[in-house]
């Protein structure tokens, strides 16, 4: 049974995820810095794969994010690239060379750990100099490079401190300096801002983005924070349950989510369970709908972002136009979020500055091209399993 599964998943080496068209890549002509080929990882004692048959290409100079909730396999993926974990199946290629089984210290990859992992008995300068010392860099060269690395993260003057004498944000900067000083080909960041408070996090986001542009090193950034991922990345992979749900540019992912999971995980979305009635017409409960294109299947899920829904008189004339009743109103500061009850469906719309109260009549609508048909999450997994059976 198990071997049959392994074989079939090896044969179907097509990407494990329902990917959208590949987005335009910066520097897509060179060999990928990182390539994962059919990588799976099952931890000893676990019966579910943490990462399942994953394919991934990361290009030179890219800021690539892996986004997912805890247990989605994003950290496992990162640890396999760093070499801390070995894939159960598949290959990890660095710069086109198979690095599967190569220990971490022989990889031209550096990691910024979530808990910084600065050596507590070494002063800041010794911590930052450590990779150079291990690489056998001449002594005379180490000192200016440490100074340069610390200056780059605005930590000049902290050379003689011990890690426990620094604040969280300062430790983070030192960890960053230590990871960058060896000028690696690839920098892995494992939720580096997770332990910082909001203000500091925003500040560090800018520092990171700046640094990446300055040094031109490929960054792989693992996070569970969709805001960070959208703001920073050239491309991002959304992971769920060991699979890549979607791999695309931030705008692509936001505007055209591939699955209901992506639509719900990133931003807010109205997900309507629809059934096709004829051609590009469909029905969600009692709501009739006009679609931009004919759906491939009879039953499908439609995702509509609240901000693409036009509220008020402007919505008249749109193919999808409804009159409904306001259910609840949430005041969010910069705008108001209105729950509307339309037939047996409840939708979220953005009301801007208009004031509605529960029970008020409201009209709204959207143009068909704003609604995206998404696959049910895990549908391809089920397909794969039914193939195996």
């Amino acid at each position: 049974m198990k071997t049959a599964k392994e074989e079939s998943s090896q044969v179907s080496s097509v990407t494990s995820a329902p990917q959208a068209e590949p987005a335009a890549l910066p520097g897509a002509d060179g060999a990928p810095v990182v390539e994962l080929r059919g990588v799976s990882k099952t931890y000893p004692g676990g019966d579910v794969a943490a990462v399942d048959n994953m394919d991934l290409n990361i290009q030179e100079g890219e800021f690539f994010s892996i986004l997912g909730s805890s247990g989605s396999g994003k950290t496992t993926t990162l640890r396999m690239i760093a070499g801390f974990e070995q894939p159960t199946k598949g290959n990890v290629l660095l710069d086109g060379i198979d690095a599967t089984g190569v220990p971490p210290y022989r990889r031209d990859v550096n990691t910024v750990f979530q808990n910084y992992a600065l050596f507590p008995h070494m002063k800041v300068e010794a911590n930052v100099a450590y990779p150079l010392k291990m690489a056998g860099t001449p002594k005379g060269e180490i000192k200016p490079r440490v100074a340069e690395a610390l200056e780059r993260v605005s930590m000049t003057g902290f050379e003689k401190r011990l890690p426990h004498q620094l604040s969280g944000g300062q430790r983070q900067r030192v960890a960053l300096a230590r990871a960058l000083i060896g000028r690696p080909r690839l920098l892995l960041l494992d939720e580096p801002l997770g332990a910082l408070d909001l203000k500091l996090r925003e500040n560090m986001l800018l520092v990171l983005k700046h640094l990446q542009r300055e040094v031109g090193i490929t960054f792989i950034y693992v996070t569970h924070d969709q805001g960070e991922a959208l703001a920073m990345s050239d491309r991002l992979a959304v992971m769920n349950g060991g699979y890549v749900e979607q791999l695309a540019s931030p705008t692509e992912i936001y505007d055209r989510p591939a699955t209901s999971f992506v639509a719900g995980f990133i931003g807010k979305s109205n997900l309507l369970e629809c059934s096709c009635t004829s051609g590009d017409k469909a029905q969600a409960g009692t709501m009739p709908l006009v679609l931009g294109e004919a759906p491939g299947e009879e039953k499908f899920t439609l995702s509509i972002r609240p901000e693409t829904i036009v509220v008020g008189e402007d919505s008249r004339g749109l193919p999808n136009h409804y009159e409904a009743v306001v259910g609840d109103v949430l005041f969010l500061g910069h705008e108001r979020e209105v729950m509307v009850d339309c037939g047996d469906q409840r939708l979220v719309v953005r009301a801007g500055q208009q004031i509605y109260s529960p029970g008020d009549p409201i009209e709204f609508g959207w143009s068909p091209d704003k609604a995206v048909i998404v696959k049910a999450t895990g549908s391809w997994q089920q397909q794969q399993q039914s193939q195996d059976a």
């Binding site: 220990p103 971490p104 550096n110 808990n115 050596f119 008995h121 450590y130 291990m134 690489a135 060896g182």
Partner: protein, 302 residues
Amino acid sequence: MAAAATVARRLEPITALPRRLPSPIKKFLIVSPALLWILVLVILPNVFLISYSLWKNELGSVAHVWNFHNYSELFASNVFTTLLKRTLLIALVSTTCATLIAYPLAYVVVTKFGRYKTLAAIMIIIPLWVSYLMRIFAWKIILGEHGVLNGFLESVGLISKPSTAFIYSTTTVIIALTYIAIPYVFLSAYTSLDRVPKHYYEASADCGASAWRTFRHVIWPLTRPGVAVGFAIGFVLTFGDYVTPAQVGGLSGTMLGSIVLQSFGTADNWPQGAAIGVTIIAAGLLVLALVSLFTRLEAEID
């Protein structure tokens, strides 16, 4: 007016003063059990011991005359200085051997045994459950003239008749004391190694350090204090021991502990025994002071 009064009453629990801090007498009562413990079990016995060592022995009875006679006599005596040197040597060598065995053992257990490491650690310290005397007798059975080792060597034909070289010597004492000290050093080394988070190993490997260099630059500096403490415990244990030399040491394996026993027992010379005891404590403290130089670590493992 009435309403204001109600509000005031409602506020009362909040504005009420906190409970008073304990009075000095109460504080004293709280710490008194600890003070009593220290006084009766630490200070008084040592005062007695030191007093005895400064009194004079007159044919088995103690004359309360203060002098340093016992000490000057001890250090003038060849037997004592030889024994002191030998005891220091035996204790240092066996504790060092125990550390050289226990620390790598603890390193392997912590880094390679994964979730079985607690089990492995318990297996290693389980000998502590067995009576001390039984463990020494076990060594006698192994190393004795008609022991397991001789039997084995005879059966494979390496020797023709049982050898007496294995027992009743300084080496035998060192072997037995090493064995006695291992679990203690192991426990201390294991605790300090186990406290080093896994991500330090990973961060070091990530920075390009091999396992050996990770050990040398990161793990050893962080665990050295724990090893030093283990070494100190092992040293104190082996330095004052008298059971092991008495059982497996023979004449050439005699240690200071044996003559303490003699002085308080057959020789009935308590002041002299006390003086030797004080010397043992002083030597122990000296080694502890030296070892404490290695326990200093400015860092905090978070």
